[in-house]
Symmetry: C2
Subunit: 360 residues, 2 copies
Amino acid sequence: MTQIYNFSAGPAVLPKEVLQQAAAEMLDWHGSGMSVMEMSHRGKEFMSIAAEAEADLRELLAIPANYKVLFLQGGAHAQFSMIPLNLLRNKKAADYIDTGIWSQKAIAEARKYCEVNVAASSADHNYTYAPEQSAWKLDPDAAYVHYTSNETIGGVEIFWTPETGDVPLVCDMSSHILSRPIDVSRYGLIYAGAQKNIGPAGLTIVIVREDLIGETLPGTPTMLDYKIHADNDSMYNTPPTYGIYIAGLVFKWLKANGGLAAMEQLNIRKAAMLYDYIASSSLYVSPIAPDNRSRMNVPFTLRNTALDAEFLKQAQQRGLLQLKGHKLVGGMRASIYNAMPIEGVQALVSFMQEFERAQG
Amino acid sequence: MTQIYNFSAGPAVLPKEVLQQAAAEMLDWHGSGMSVMEMSHRGKEFMSIAAEAEADLRELLAIPANYKVLFLQGGAHAQFSMIPLNLLRNKKAADYIDTGIWSQKAIAEARKYCEVNVAASSADHNYTYAPEQSAWKLDPDAAYVHYTSNETIGGVEIFWTPETGDVPLVCDMSSHILSRPIDVSRYGLIYAGAQKNIGPAGLTIVIVREDLIGETLPGTPTMLDYKIHADNDSMYNTPPTYGIYIAGLVFKWLKANGGLAAMEQLNIRKAAMLYDYIASSSLYVSPIAPDNRSRMNVPFTLRNTALDAEFLKQAQQRGLLQLKGHKLVGGMRASIYNAMPIEGVQALVSFMQEFERAQG
């Protein structure tokens, strides 16, 4: 088997132990004679898998009892419409913070359903930082405040929790959820596509304070009504069962490895290793403001962009994969989620040093 | 490993060869060093997997070039709203055929968006048959005609293709797609949740004539717009990559086993084995009209319903699993999709015979 390190932004690397267990159980889960993929979602085997996944996620994130945990489909894109459809609740406007491409996608979709107040934006510096709370012009009558706590493409992360008073705080945590502890009670709704830190693509996790749901805009498709899914324990329709199973294995792996506090320490070390080297280098540049450098997605550029292609070619030859930056920002991007071992970051830094030396 | 036969209605049994290959490739797909679950959906490895899956599906179903094949999320339930949102196209009404629980779900959701003309219904005989075409009161001005060609819960299958003139024909084929050849050119849109004959739950296949899409009702969420997905080759957002991979393996398995014509012959034999025995028995009863007996989902009852629990208990002890009928219809149901080997049906019939003999 080729030893590679996969720096893809998502779908992304998964813990090797999880994949090994999935392979071993593929034809016969716990002596049932069935693959998890073959199980009725209403059978006792899968019901136990789903219940355990939810319980473990609740434990990892210390989710309060008045929050529902939903296992849905459609990714963050489906949430971009579900949020206004469900959370406007007779209000006409919502506040959105614009920190890059993913917040802009959320804003564009929300504009179909309400007036969007862009309460703060980092457009003035090409989305290389996140506006501080003091710069957020919040509307006390807004239905909710939406922000993107980690911009996967831009590599901008917000490490503090905004204060929004009685206005529910809604957060797209797709690309850093489970990378560090968070205080769920400060949020009205948290959502995350699974394909970065949770499991396979096709599963979306929503954590929502239960008093916020139950009132939708007229014409809301039933499948986009949080209350329907909450009242049916995410089994209103057939859920993405295999994705929930893999997510459950990832949750067990996180618990076995010290939970989110331990994960945060490791992620701090991994990110520092990469950013510190970049700061010391005369070839590589981090375009992001120091306080907002994402621990999950590390974009960097080469001072001589003519070398980009050669850098990527040599990296690929060493088994350092998927380092090309998103087409909208260019350069390189190393995504170093929970499942990226520290050895992967070390291998990347070693290669970057060697490549820099070779340029003389 | 326990030898069982899994008669679940969905998620359901998958070909053993497919699961074996998935297990073998779990940590390293074709020497890439990556699991398919870990691959960027925009990388060349996964792009090749998706393209091959689509090409194989097109070949199996002989899908004409003017039809788009979409790999979506949300199951049939999401289609229940997507269909009116996309296909009404300035019309105010659509025709629906009511053959049971699944058509009723489609009707209920469509009523949010248009006037529904129930053009035919088998409610008069408790949904134990499908109305013949001559009984369909179609409206020539309808936006489309919707029917459910196999009612998974009721076990009613329609083996002929309705004639609707210029009005597009829309069909929920979730529970019999790929079980027999169909003439796609007769349809405007075909949809199917994957979790019966295609692959894991969380993937939905839509086959749509391309001239029908591009016009949606105001306020349609972007994720529910077929045109968006068609224009982006189902990569507008991150698709359920692992489900597409497994579906692709199932398509290869179907091709290696003679395609849909061979599958149909096998399915006819499997269903006949079960229905013929039931007809000859004095204990078991098929409630369904002979012309509409589903080859995929075979509901049956015991004349003495007091024996139901004992029947299910003994079946379970023999490794004959998931035979309990849906709570809405009671009795038993054996789902015998493509991947159910004929040995499974033989084992079921043997047990049924033995159980009948034991009752004296």
